[in-house]
Every structure is written in structure tokens, then in C-alpha cells.
Symmetry: C2
């Protein structure tokens, strides 16, 4: 059983709490039920809304299905992540776009000089790209669950190798690899303990 | 009007889509309706579930209500962020705990040597803390919305100043300041444009 939080405190519908937060589990096996491009685009159309600094929206996604590109991606993963990743219907490489500033004249017209500011400050541009794309990863993982799919995020890969192999001349830099699909047999490990609020919250 | 995504693609209930993603807006003014500790703890009990690498859960939150600590926090904010932050019923400083590894014997017992690994590798520990806490910021901002509250995230502050003033000897390092409450009059700016999936998604 999972928590259902009291409705006077968490107004989100209990089914939605369960789907996104409390009952969802990381998946380690997947069925062969396909994930469509339509689903992937709908996930984008949901996840694009929550906030980023100066509306920068630097998260980018490279999707691979089984085939030659997937096989190349596998070579950059930690050994323990390869078998499950080989069988996922879709594998996403989540990346930060360090050329996000080229969109700012459209996406943040209220600060006309901002594109040029970032063009001349590589450190600020890289930090802004990585930090905001990483916040968006949180939105994204919940957004995939909103599509009725399970996620299996993996930090165990070689980011420099992936960037060389897939992102030359794009400005994209990889942050996380995520298996996506419908959970297969024995998909989930037992839930590990979560920290209590007494460990994570202070009041000043 | 906001998007309602087709239910065969996004299975999350349309009301929940709106509450968390499509209809929610960053708030820049707040009513004086209070936010209770019970609400803040319930947000934790929702947001604690989505995944982090090796179950590290490094996100920490310092909450301030109006008073001396809030006044000190204001001194570390960019000028343009002070007035609205002064009036928010609750202001959260979101931080990464670089001593997260002390919890690993409880939270990730399946890798007994992991605490010691992180204890001897400051670079890996700091990166893991910041990266995973930043993903959790994404979960957290949607979790506050799940409690029926609005968020106003602000990157415009002096993290080193906040760390010196509030986090000495804690291992916490500040990442983002977030105003929290019920939206007041003229709370929202007009929605800025979002990138299309043709700008953010590739297939390989």
C-alpha cells in the first residue's frame, strides 16, 4: 500500500498522486508494447509549461528505438544498465542545450539584450543550461508517468562518449539516460526507504 | 485557454494536468492566506517518492515566514525580487545536502560501501548532491502545486551569501529560492512562448 495524502492538504486528485508520485515505481523490465511518436510529442506538450529561469527551456531529448543508434548508445552505458536498456521500446537521452540563448529573442522578448549577454559569457550560459535542464528533468520524468508510461532513469553512462557520438555540432550535452515503456515481468525492485521531513526540512 | 491533451495520449486526469502543468502560473503576488506546517510536511510526503540516483534524496528545504530570518534572506536577493518575497507567506530556500551520504546505510543498504566511497570523493559527492537535488526541485515545484499553492521560483540571489548566513556547518548549499502561497491580485505575467517539440526532440 502507498500513502494517500489527506485531500485538505494535497488537493491533487488521489489517482493523480498515485500515478505521478506515490504508487509509481522505476521500471527495470519492459513489455514490447510500443511507445508512439504521438505519445512522445504529447509528453513534450505537457512538460513544456512548468517554469524555467528567464523561460530558457534548455532541456532537449534524443529518442532511440531498437536499431543501430540504440546499439551505439548501449556501448556508452555502464555494464549493469545494458541488458534492460536493450529491451526498452524507447530510450531517451536527456540533454542540456548550451545554445538555448538563440531562442531568447522569441521566448523572452522582454529582455532584448539577454541573448548577447549569454553569447559572451560561456560560464553563465553553461550553468544556466545545465541547471534549468536538470530541473526540467524532474518535470519530464513525472510527465512520462502522466502518459501512463514507466521510467527507468540511469546515471551510469559516459556523458562525454554520448556527446561525441550523438551531439557533435549541436550544443547539446547529455545529462541522463531514461528507459521508457510499459513495465514487464518483475519490473520493480522493492521500494527503498525515504527520508522523513525531520531530515529534510528546517524552519528559520 | 490552455491545452487539454488527448486522454489516449496523456492518461493523467485533465484537472491534474491543469493543476500541475498547463494552467498553473508562476505567482508574483500573494494573499495573506497562511501556508501551514502541515501543508509543508504533506508536500514532502508526496515529493519524496520520485526517483533519485542510488536513492540519495539530497534535496533540503529551509522555510522562512515573515520575521527576522526572512529579513536576512531578503538582503541576499536581487533587488527586483525583494518586494514580492517580503509579502509571500512562506519562502523556501531549496538546497543540496553534500552530506547526503550519511543516510546511505539506511536509504541504500544494497551497496554497503557507498557511504565510504562518497566520503572520500568530494567531487563525486558534490556533483551527485547538486544534480539529484536539482532534479528533485522539478518534483518539488509540481508538488507545491499539488497542494493547491502557487510557486514563484527565483534564481536571482547570492548563493554564497545565503550559505554563509543560513547553512554554516550543515553541508547544505543553496540552489533556488521559491515564494509559496495563494496568488494575490495581478499575480501572473502573460504566458511566454514555449518551444515546439520540433525544437527540443530528435530521433536517432
Amino acid at each position: 500500500m502507498t500513502d494517500v495524502l489527506p485531500q485538505h492538504l494535497i488537493t491533487l486528485h488521489p489517482d493523480a498522486q498515485a500515478q505521478l508520485f506515490t504508487a509509481a515505481h522505476t521500471a527495470n523490465t519492459f513489455t514490447d508494447q510500443p511507445v508512439t511518436d504521438e505519445q512522445l510529442h504529447a509528453i513534450h506538450d505537457l512538460v513544456k509549461y512548468p517554469p524555467t529561469a528567464m523561460n530558457t527551456q534548455p532541456l532537449r531529448v534524443l529518442y532511440t528505438r531498437p536499431g543501430p543508434a540504440r546499439d551505439r548508445l548501449l556501448t556508452h552505458l555502464a555494464d549493469g544498465n545494458r541488458a534492460k536498456t536493450a529491451t526498452a521500446p524507447v530510450v531517451a537521452v536527456l540533454a542540456a542545450d548550451t545554445t538555448f540563448h538563440d531562442h531568447l529573442p522569441t521566448t523572452f522578448p522582454i529582455r532584448p539584450g539577454l541573448r548577447d549577454h549569454f553569447a559572451t559569457d560561456d560560464t553563465a550560459r553553461e550553468h544556466t543550461a545545465r541547471f534549468n535542464a536538470t530541473i526540467q528533468i524532474g518535470y519530464y520524468l513525472l510527465g512520462v508517468r502522466a502518459a501512463g508510461l514507466a521510467v527507468g532513469p540511469m546515471g551510469g553512462f559516459d556523458p562525454a562518449g554520448v556527446d561525441r557520438d550523438f551531439f557533435t555540432d549541436t550544443g547539446w550535452t547529455s545529462l541522463l539516460v531514461v528507459n521508457i515503456g510499459h513495465p514487464g515481468p518483475d519490473a520493480h525492485f522493492p521500494r527503498l526507504p525515504r527520508l522523513d521531513h525531520t531530515d529534510t526540512i528546517r524552519h528559520a
